[in-house]
Amino acid sequence: MLHTKTHNSIFARLFRCLIILISLSPLLFLVFNSLKSTRDYLLFPFSFPRGLTFENYYNYIFQFNGLHYWLNTLLVVTVSISFSLLIGSFCAFSLSLQSKSKAIPAIFILTSLFFLPDIIFIAPLYRIFAFIGATKGYLALILMYIRASFPPTVIFLYISMAKVSSDLYSSYMLDGASMYMVFFTQIPKICSFEICFIALYNSLSLFKDYTMALLFVASNNLATVNVAISRYLSMNNLDFPKYFAATIINLLPFIIYFLAVPIFFSKNDWDS
């Protein structure tokens, strides 16, 4: 059995406590101060809220119409993730049916594309999208999000699907199923864990995006949460508690994700 005595030393414990404190402090600071009035925040920024006020949340949701931007983001991310999952899982499935010598070049190309920085392509793609009029709505942003999430989807799903024996698919076909039927009915069952994982991973990174959403959506009304919140901050210059409340509402998907991940991993085999 491996020995772990040194890891319970006082320094290790202190180090762990320090990291936990640093990791949680931004979120706790946001939560506590979002429940304070502006005056309380300015006088006691690091104390617990004395009296709870939900006015900041009310202002963001009803006066600024904050949920509208939240729904905008949800719409864009859902559409993008759905497309990239559908096309990506199809590519991964068909590549996994081939020998490695045939599949690896395509995976190699996608890995290379995945590593190429987005910033190189932002200006030319912006010109192309502006030329076809895609920046007026969500089309440009959705395409950019599909572009960002497609390579990791194919790579990750290929790795997991390649472990499944192609004999299994052959047996389905002997029973009269077409490959498309196998893809639409059996793959979601066989690779449900991997599909959920990559969907969560991609949706998190898309929800966090600020730069693309700022550049590729022209209309204020169509802004996503991260862009809307920066505008909300500029509208409420010194009213930080309002800003914190808005931030907490916008962090909701991440908090759900944060709660979902440990449950998800504890119920599934990490190695898979």
Partner: protein, 279 residues
């Protein structure tokens, strides 16, 4: 078998279409713009060096992140754990978007922010000091935030790499009297070097080309170009300066980044393919 090949052809078509629309056409457009740029507007070397220096300073965070992640992932590995409540807590800053983390840091350390107010109330010296206008402080803050938001992700990468390491090797080393430090330096790090290099590369890539969302709220790339990275410069040139000058400058820097990445990626892949030749 015929249907397998049919699907394969269709997927190759989709991948090619994807690469063509999102990468090849924009790249041709970019290079075409680059060719049309007159020789008088060739890149300003001093600006390029400043951007490179800024990126390299921020890359200090990669060393810190990897050191912390190696220690924690090794600790988890020794305890036969793939995830722990500690790691879940560390994921909190990772799930907060960089733009929000940056803005929060700005609010903390701004001239009228709580940290400055408290410090200047107790120590009059701080009354005249604006933390964020100090370049060393801004860099320290940026490095700290990059570390904070990347450590958990790095641990996950390293744990994935460590899952291939058989426990029996570590146990055999322990039986031979090796200490944990020796095992870490002689077995774990060399074994996991692929994951470490991969993460270091992806974080370096993020710092040089995607840190705009973090830097903008804190320093705005300033003072001057003191905290501007490549992506910040390109976005500012293209979308703020605008016109022919801005577009030209953005194009040149984009081409430089592309060439730089190709120079790094190609040897990386050659090394990787040689190492995994049997695979």
């Amino acid at each position: 078998m015929k249907s397998f090949n049919d699907l394969y052809r269709k997927s190759l078509f989709l991948v090619s279409l994807f690469a063509l629309f999102f990468y090849v056409i924009p790249l041709i457009l970019l290079l075409f713009d680059g060719i049309r740029i007159p020789s008088r507007s060739i890149i300003d070397i001093s600006t390029l060096l400043i951007l490179l220096r800024n990126t390299l300073i921020l890359c200090i965070s990669i060393v810190i992140v990897i050191l912390i992640a190696i220690l924690i992932s090794y600790n988890l590995f020794l305890r036969h754990k793939r995830i722990s409540s500690f790691l879940v807590v560390m994921l909190v800053p990772f799930i907060i978007p960089c733009s929000l983390l940056g803005r929060l840091a700005y609010l903390f350390f701004a001239y009228d922010g709580p940290i400055h107010v408290i410090l200047s109330n107790h120590i009059p010296y701080f009354d005249k000091i604006d933390f964020l206008s100090s370049v060393p402080f801004s860099y320290t803050l940026l490095i700290f935030l990059i570390c904070l938001s990347s450590v958990a992700e790095c641990i996950i990468y390293l744990l994935a790499g460590l899952s291939r390491l058989p426990y029996s090797i570590v146990e055999a080393a322990q039986c031979d009297g090796a200490t944990n430090i020796t095992i870490l330096c002689r077995i774990v790090v060399p074994f996991n070097i692929d994951s470490i290099v991969l993460y270091a590369f992806s974080l370096a890539s993020w710092i040089s080309t995607a840190s705009y969302a973090l830097i903008k709220p804190i320093t705005g790339g300033g003072p001057g170009l003191a905290t501007t990275t490549f992506d910040y410069y390109i976005i500012r040139q293209y979308f703020s300066v605008g016109g022919v000058a801005g577009e030209t400058s953005a194009t040149i820097y984009s081409i430089i980044i592309f060439v730089g990445y190709c120079l790094v990626l190609i040897p990386f892949y050659i090394f990787y393919r040689r190492k995994n030749a049997s695979y």
